[in-house]
Subunit: 395 residues, 2 copies
């Protein structure tokens, strides 16, 4: 019979996507320049020239059967080696290619990592605010997602609430730093304490608890921000990475899981992820894109615009009386609404052609997300809209 | 806990892959030209020049954010439209883009199609000989694969045995034509009878039974062979296609599911497949490859070598006394061994540096597969090895 679980999902549309679709329609009505669409987390800067050049060079210099042929189940060896060497240089951990599993972006990395370390019925803990697709990555495996309420003062981890949720069934903890939607980077103190609690819980329950660290915004961290490498603090860490944001290539579906080399089961976990890929028929990321990404392993797009935009928006929001935590990275900021109902607040903003995403979808009430992956000119032109919005609440 | 189902799979190595790995090792020992490796079904002709040219043109003429940006969940609209129009032209069925779901090759297409139309515990029927990865595509969904024994006289469908296996729990039937490993193309009479039985069974059990038709070898059909379009005969057909063989790009992971436009649920099934992709974090095939494939939608590599190779091998095998059904397509031939034990027979061949795959892995005993996706020179040079092998059994 038609699968009812997935049929049910077809009716649950993403709120982010719906706002974006509304924006496309509205732009046709009143002109592109008059709609301030801050809904979608799509990079706004070009891929580095070297990425396209590398693809062309591969096409010109590699034999067709080799270039376009099957990758091994575990991914292209050269790609895995390049990722391992890069991580080793940067984070001073002894990564080898046996730790690396190339994936379809961070999404594929997360879904594989979660499936590898859980059995249906197991519990996975994450922290609000969180990326709503986590519900699907966890739900698809049959594991249960439990959400720790947000510490809205800092958007660091709310440890008291976290400790209450850990049980014998907790097999994985899922964090996202730098964080979508808050823009906050978990600081060294936060990661240290998290690692300590996980170690104690592993001892208490006598089984591993894997830390799945979702890090697609790792290269977008602002000046002076404490940005610890999560894997350095906890051996059983599965780092999930994507080149979508760093190289501005989200459609090319490329990322990886890097299992901490100090995790006793790192090789087995990578082999298990290859079996998961085999079962869903995905097998591997595209050969051409694996090789081109390997060529650009330490490059990024010009990401400076995101910090510029953040500073302008943060200052303006503060001056208008918004409560807001200053982002340490990403291209998101997550202010408190000027009323309790974030859905209604975003409807009011929408009536001004300012498209924001209500926070409910991220597991927090009363906030909204601005995705400032746009041009700085766009940000500046949008400021009167924020003023207008604030005025409506400060009559 | 570490997922035991997938952990178990890491120990079940593919026999095809193991033979291939042995071949690589052996070539280093005695020289590449002295090992006759017929194990792997990898295309042996280059991708058409137009495919690489299209990628370069896309890189030169499309804006980075558009080219490398996210595809919609359902896949790139242009790609879907091109596939639909091509199928409409060729098979005279009213395909629209709503019928098309771009996938990671036929593997992704099959895994998604099976998951969309089954619930754990449902039964899926397939026919020996069959591609061993079907076990994983079905097993991963929680459905149960039931295998109809082969009709070894013709390698068409064994209908008497098929009818015995249909039950109330049968939700899908999975066929592969042209067939890997037999090389046989199911003829019009066979497809008509299959459709008739499925219609009667749908009526009897009052639920749809979907026909999942695995067709990656559709463009490799030899002169004069009856090659019916399966979808024309049965409305509830999900055609699973790959460009891996037709364009010689297996590593680029691109194919599609085309749900028959006459299937009442075609639009819903495509939307369900997008939700399945979302859950595993795969989302979509690579944007660049979707677009380049759309440009080459009606092209193929120069596939003539496969028929040339088939004719040489078939004639030689017959002259040596092998029982063998003449392939109608693909790049496989599936002769009967000269002893009952196909594992042992292939070990004997291996001792002559002739690498064949025993049939057990395909659900049939006593046969072997030759994958003749090699140069014609290679085939000719290998003939003395087949003579030597036959001599060992005809002393």
């Amino acid at each position: 019979m038609i699968n009812e679980y997935y049929k049910g999902l077809t009716n649950k549309k993403s709120q982010i996507r719906e706002m974006y679709m509304y924006g496309l329609k509205r732009k046709k009505e009143i002109g592109e320049e008059n709609v301030f669409d801050y809904s979608l987390g799509n990079p706004s800067v070009d891929a580095p020239k070297e990425f396209n050049d590398s693809i062309k060079r591969l096409l010109d210099t590699t034999k067709s059967l080799e270039l376009h042929g099957y990758s091994p189940n575990l991914g292209n060896d050269h790609m895995r080696e390049c990722v391992a060497q890069s991580l080793k240089r940067r984070f001073n951990l002894p990564y080898t290619k046996d730790c690396i599993f190339p994936s379809s972006g961070a999404a594929g990395a997360l879904a594989h990592a979660i499936r590898a370390v859980t059995t249906p019925g197991d519990e996975v803990i994450t922290f609000a605010p969180y990326f709503p697709e986590y519900n699907h990555y966890v739900g698809g495996t049959g594991a249960i997602l439990k959400v720790v309420p947000a510490d809205t003062k800092t958007f660091q981890i709310n440890f008291d609430e976290f400790e209450k949720l850990i049980t014998e069934k907790t097999m994985a903890v899922l964090i996202n730093t730098p964080n979508n939607p808050s823009g906050v980077v978990y600081n060294t103190e936060c990661i240290k304490r998290l690692a300590q609690i996980l170690l104690e819980s592993e001892a208490k329950y006598s089984h591993p608890i894997y830390l799945i660290s979702d890090e697609p915004y790792r290269e977008i961290v602002f000046k002076g921000v404490d940005n610890p490498c999560v894997s350095s603090f906890y051996d059983n860490t599965l780092m999930c990475y994507s080149f979508s944001k760093s190289l501005s290539i989200p459609g090319e579906r490329i990322g990886y899981v890097a299992v901490n080399p100090k995790c006793p089961d790192h090789k087995l976990l990578v082999e298990i992820m290859a079996q998961i890929s085999r079962g869903i028929g995905h097998n591997c990321p595209t050969s051409l894109i694996q090789l081109a990404t390997a060529d650009c392993i330490d490059l990024t797009s010009d990401l400076a615009v995101y910090e510029t935009n953040m500073n302008i928006l943060y200052d303006k929001l503060v001056s208008l009386g918004f409560e807001v935590v200053r982002p340490g990275g990403t291209f998101y900021i997550f202010p408190k609404c000027l009323e309790e109902d974030s859905q209604h607040f975003c409807e009011v903003a929408k009536s001004l052609d300012l498209l924001l995403v209500p926070s409910d979808t991220f597991g927090v009430k009363g906030y909204f997300r601005i995705a400032y992956c746009v041009t700085t000119d766009f940000v500046k032109r949008s400021l009167p809209k924020f003023e207008e919005l604030a005025r409506l609440y400060n009559k």
